[in-house]
């Protein structure tokens, strides 16, 4: 049976590379073979490095416990072979490591800045999109309102009974707009796996949307189911993004939750629209808190589940949704009033739907251009500056090291 001191030099060198200074010290006093091997300075370098980090710069956790030395590119000058080739003493090594680590720590600050910059830009981008979407939907509803008035002005007497299909087209286009927009936004922001998931989600949603159209008759039932299915899918997407490997995309989760709940609310409004006045009013009154309360509640639950419940944290990202929801409710109410005044013309009522889609495409192109100009290019410029600063810090550190080596 082999003994520890019978292991080959290669194996023992590897063991020594992973030992801390205390253990190496003990091993050195254990037997003659260990002592002989440990006379080679290179065996001590990783342990010294770790010890110096620990006692001088308090970087032990950041640097030494997380990754082995060979995975840290910044520690490349401390490769044992390089150090051995310079014949550096322990004292010289210690001094150079301290100098190097000081410079390294300085470059770490730059990295932290970089992370902060990315987070800030990400927040800004999300806010920009939310603002853009709010504006887009506002435009859509305004144009819809104008179009509705145009219908009345052109043919005030033409008021044929609307078929469920046309109502579906109108309300369906409205709902589909939400989902398509959400999917496009997610596709722009998300990684490859998420894209795949979203494509599946969209593919599944199509038959689910069409099924009620085929089986159920009438605007009331159709719009209700439509809204219900869309909101369910969006909420399902939100749940998926809240867990597992998608946890870091909580922004998308919340966006989907917001869309889901908003669709649910709109569906509810459209449902009660077909009822008598008293019920309609009650329904609308119920829908208003629904717009505001449920997204807050759901988001609060998500945060609570991950131990991050903080009222400030909840309110800040929810704020744009509250504004969006309030605008939506107002606009839906305006449209309801218009709907009461006019009876939709079966042919002309298609126009607003076409307008919706044109607006969506134009709006997204403008939105993407705005996003690119104000955020993406700014991020690239800043990242370039940071990379140069990091490289300079690294070069400075290496120069310090070689300076110490020369003095040796």
């Amino acid at each position: 049976m082999p003994k520890l001191n019978d292991l080959s030099d290669v194996v023992l060198d590897e063991v020594f590379n992973w030992c801390d200074l205390t253990t190496l010290h003990s091993l050195q006093q254990t037997c003659a073979r260990f002592r002989d091997l440990l006379q080679n300075e290179s065996c001590w370098i990783p342990a010294y490095f770790e010890k110096i980090c620990e006692i001088q710069l308090d970087l032990r956790f950041d640097l030494c416990s997380v990754k082995p030395f060979d995975e840290l590119d910044l520690t490349a000058p401390f490769n044992p072979d390089i150090m051995r080739s310079f014949g550096l003493s322990k004292k010289g090594y210690k001094e150079s490591v301290i100098l190097y680590l000081k410079a390294w720590k300085k470059s770490r600050k730059t990295t932290k800045e970089e992370i902060e910059l990315k987070n800030t830009q990400k927040d800004r981008t999300m806010k920009l999109w939310i603002m853009f979407l709010t504006g887009l939907f506002m435009c859509i509803f305004l144009i819809l309102s104008i179009a509705s008035f145009a219908v009345i002005l052109q043919s005030p007497s033409a008021a044929p009974k609307t078929t469920p299909f046309h109502y579906w087209l109108f309300s369906g286009g409205f709902f589909a707009l939400s989902v398509i927009t959400a999917c496009i936004i997610c596709l722009m922001f998300s990684p490859k796996t998420t894209r795949y998931l979203l494509c599946c989600l969209t593919a599944v949603s199509i038959p689910l949307i069409l099924l009620p159209m085929v089986w159920l008759d009438g605007f009331v039932v159709t719009s209700y189911w439509f809204g219900f299915i869309i909101s369910s899918l969006a909420i399902l997407g939100g749940i998926i993004f809240s867990f597992g490997s998608f946890i870091h995309r909580r922004d998308i989760a919340f966006l989907l939750f917001g869309i889901g709940i908003t669709c649910c609310g709109v569906s509810h409004v459209l449902f009660v629209l077909r009822m008598d006045n008293v019920i309609r009013l009650t329904g609308i009154l119920i829908a208003i808190p629904l717009f505001i309360a449920i997204p807050l509640f759901v988001y609060g639950c998500v945060l609570f589940l991950f131990g991050e419940l903080d009222f400030k944290q909840i309110f800040k990202p929810v704020q744009p949704y509250i504004i969006t929801a309030a605008i939506w409710v107002t606009l839906v109410l305006i449209i309801l009033r218009i709907d009461e005044i006019i009876q939709w013309n079966s042919n002309l009522c298609l126009i607003p739907v076409y307008i919706q889609y044109v607006l969506l495409i134009v709006g997204l192109i403008i939105g993407y251009a705005v996003y690119y100009v104000f955020t993406e290019s700014a991020i690239r410029r800043k990242a370039k500056r940071i990379n140069i600063a990091k490289e300079n810090a690294r070069l400075g550190a290496i120069q310090s090291l070689f300076h110490t080596l020369d003095n040796e």
Binding site: K3, V11, C19, T23, H25, S26, C31, R35
Partner: protein, 157 residues
């Protein structure tokens, strides 16, 4: 189905393993590329059958898990595997030697870290006792070593 190869251990036991898994060993990979025919049995005179089973298990898992399991799952499995195979110190040392000879880098590092954990915070006496190492250093030498390396400890305290 992937191609399998037959390996013969030092104690004459025959074991089969997928070629993909065996190729994790740099030594066997070179051997297969240069000389060996996959139909032939590959004699491994320096490998005990128990070690060979463990090595095949490790390599098979890593081949199967590559690209499928997450890093966390692989690390967890590695941890459990190492705990299991390194319970006996003598077998641990034998497996390190074998892995070194077969040049299986990942497993070698894990086993080395296992040794490091066993050595951690141990005094020279404890190390000698645990690993059955004879004390062949005179007291003067030990004192000398202690004095030359003591500077770091004073600083850290």
């Amino acid at each position: 189905m992937s191609e399998t190869l037959t390996l013969v251990s030092a104690d004459g036991k025959t074991l089969t393993a997928p070629k993909d898994a065996i190729m994790r060993s740099a030594m066997l990979k070179n051997l297969l590329e240069v000389a060996a025919n996959s139909d032939e049995q590959i004699p491994l005179d320096f490998v005990h059958s128990e070690d060979l089973e463990n090595i095949i298990e490790y390599c098979k898992y890593h081949v199967e898990a590559e690209g499928k399991a997450s890093e966390g799952d692989i690390s967890k499995w590695d941890g459990e595997f190492i705990n299991r195979v390194t319970q006996d110190d003598q077998k641990h040392l034998r497996l390190i030697q074998t892995t070194d000879q077969l040049q299986i880098e990942g497993l070698f590092k894990l086993l080395v870290q296992g040794i490091v954990r066993k050595l951690h915070n141990k005094t020279p006496e404890q190390i000698r006792e645990k690993w059955n190492i004879p004390d062949d250093l005179p007291k003067e030498k030990k004192d000398e070593i202690f004095n030359t390396t003591n500077w770091l400890y004073k600083k850290s305290q």
